[in-house]
Symmetry: C2
Subunit: 365 residues, 2 copies
């Protein structure tokens, strides 16, 4: 097979431990299947700041741009709390999203049958849950200008952020949501706050037009984002695909993740537009969980979200659908077998560490 | 007792039905206790638009400003979906908040023991839950300028909203949160997104300073708003008072409300600053639920949130602590007795309508 270039940004905290398990899986695939993956490591987040004073170096940024796909671990930790705003660990991730133009963030919230009982929600509310949050990732209040703190004198400051959305941004993200819905239950729910935000009014209008013009076969609902959050908690199975902006997507996807009872399990994909010539999309794959500095280095982190992110990479960047299915089946199999890292441990199950969990998944692959 | 002027804005949907039950309670208090309430009705929301083309008239706005307290029902419904943005039902509520300078929105999320089983969360997660969300209500992205849709030509538009917070706004809302925490479990959690928003950086800084300068006896934690949403779903009892901005407060308080399994039960208070001379605060009391147009006019709406909002009014606007306690005890008593409106009905309980529920609470008062 053709050589596939993966750029690995393990980052901080439990990022490197989780990434190590993916590396083993990649080696196994190269050895057994001749998958042709070539990997290179870079630095992002606090470790990058420690190394060269920025949350990602220009050299690593260039490698991310050139790779077929980027695998990202996690960034941040108390060590870097006092770092200047521009160099804070998150800035590395935000620069990757912006410079690679990864406008479409796909966050599946799936409740693995073996884990339904570990949710804080009633089992019948979450069992079998399978929703996909499509979050706009390069616009909105994350990147709009002005974004600044102004000194007004007299001990008064003013903090300003700007939410900006253009028609084309809403069009392309809703297009992604509608396309994905067609491969699922054919139902999209768009969420905004059109009752207080002008960007929400435009969002609603453009999603409605895009639907009418190109995706009338898909069922479309609109929900105010606050009501949407409530409905996620009340009865999440009413949703199939949710499409929303950057900030609401941040909140809602984390809540959806928590419903499943296992944030250590959930992957995400961030995709750019297909290149006009090569049709290839820039892409970054990342677990939903953070760097979890409190458990870093102890060998107890759950590597499943990182491994599942690699499965998304196989599916979306390389069209390796069969291999992706196999990775996901291997994860389900070790769970059925009763293996659990500490974060998802429950009575009668077998506690394992990061490495054992990774080994078990690779053995089932 | 001195005359107490209440201005009643029942609004749309189930607002008037719920307000009718409060009116009965007010009459009963006047008759039995000589409480001295004088009420006047006004229009807000869709019904105000139908009557005079604005979501609230200047005359009613003046009455709200002059009253000792405003009781507010709910606004909106599909009938007014196509109304111009400036006259949409919500604009009435937003004008009340802004013109009365009701910067502090208090949203208790209490799980009544009798209802713990009706939450979508596991009983042990929500039983005994008692948290208070203190939401900033007159600033942030709700009111910041520019707020507009610009036509860029070529079929492209740009939607813009602006999040703005000044030091004094953050100082006064966190002061309210700290004061209230002292009457509770003495613990405040402040939530923002300082990792992506400059207003979040300022928020974090000012809350920290306010704490240090005046409330060092209160326990203070900071949490990113997305993580806060997750923690609310995972283990809400870790919180006592949560203080956050207007938009995050909108999302988080609705999620907190849904945890309790009974959004039809939850009241809110919106308070202004104490007047320099009279020490009185402008105030508006409002159920957390909306206008629920689908069940309006059927006599099945739950009036408890509206009645509990009046209890908050007794407590915060008139210092009638004993009476407020009695109203809240009466609500708990009818629930213990097994009476339920449709929205909170469960097996073995007695279904009652809006009027019966109101009567039962008044009888227990
Ligand atoms: C780390 C942070 C900047 C990021 C975000 O807010 O987008 C994270 O919360 C996420 O959801 O990926
Ligand atoms: C009706 C709407 C404008 C309002 C808000 O967004 O503040 C509502 O959702 C609330 O929380 O009171």
């Amino acid at each position: 097979m053709a050589t596939k270039h993966l750029f690995l940004l393990a980052g901080d905290g439990i990022g490197p431990e989780a990434m190590a398990e993916v590396k083993k899986l990649i080696s196994a695939m190269n050895d057994k299947l001749g998958s042709g993956f070539v990997t290179e490591d870079g630095l992002v987040g606090g470790c990058a700041y420690d190394a060269h004073g920025a949350a990602i170096s220009d050299a690593d940024m260039a490698k991310a741009m050139a790779a077929d796909a980027v695998l990202f671990g996690a960034v941040g930790g108390p060590k870097w709390d006092a770092v200047p705003y521009e160099a804070r660990p998150e800035a590395g991730l935000l620069r990757l999203r912006k410079d690679m133009e990864l406008f479409a963030n796909l966050r599946p919230a799936i409740c693995y049958p073996a884990l339904a009982a570990s949710s804080s929600l009633k089992q019948e509310v979450v069992e079998g849950l399978d929703i996909l949050i499509v979050r706009e990732l390069t616009g909105g209040v994350y990147f709009g200008e002005p974004k600044q703190i102004i000194d007004l004198g007299n001990g008064q400051k003013r903090g300003i952020d700007t939410q900006v959305y253009d028609t084309f941004e809403i069009e392309r993200i809703s297009g992604v949501a509608f396309e994905l819905a067609r491969t699922r239950k054919n139902h999209v729910t768009s969420m905004e706050k059109r009752n207080v935000m002008k960007s929400g009014v435009l969002w609603n209008e453009v999603v409605t037009q895009t639907h009418k013009a190109r995706y009338a076969d898909v069922k479309l609902d609109h929900m105010l984002a606050d009501a949407g959050g409530m409905q996620l908690v009340r009865w999440p199975k009413q949703f199939d695909v949710i499409v929303t902006d950057n900030l609401f997507g941040d909140m809602l996807s984390d809540i959806a993740a928590m419903l499943t009872g296992s944030i250590g399990m959930l992957p995400s994909a961030s995709l750019g537009a297909p290149d006009v010539k090569t049709k290839k999309r820039k892409a970054l794959y990342e677990p939903v969980h953070g760097s979890a500095p409190d458990i870093a280095g102890k060998g107890i982190a759950n590597p499943i979200a990182m491994i599942a992110s690699f499965a998304m990479c196989l599916r979306y960047s390389f069209g390796m659908v069969e291999e992706a299915d196999r990775v996901e089946a291997a994860i389900a199999a070790v769970l059925d077998q009763g293996l659990r890292t500490k974060d998802i441990l429950s009575e009668g199950m077998t506690e394992v560490g990061t490495v054992q969990m990774g080994d078990a998944i690779i053995a089932k692959f």
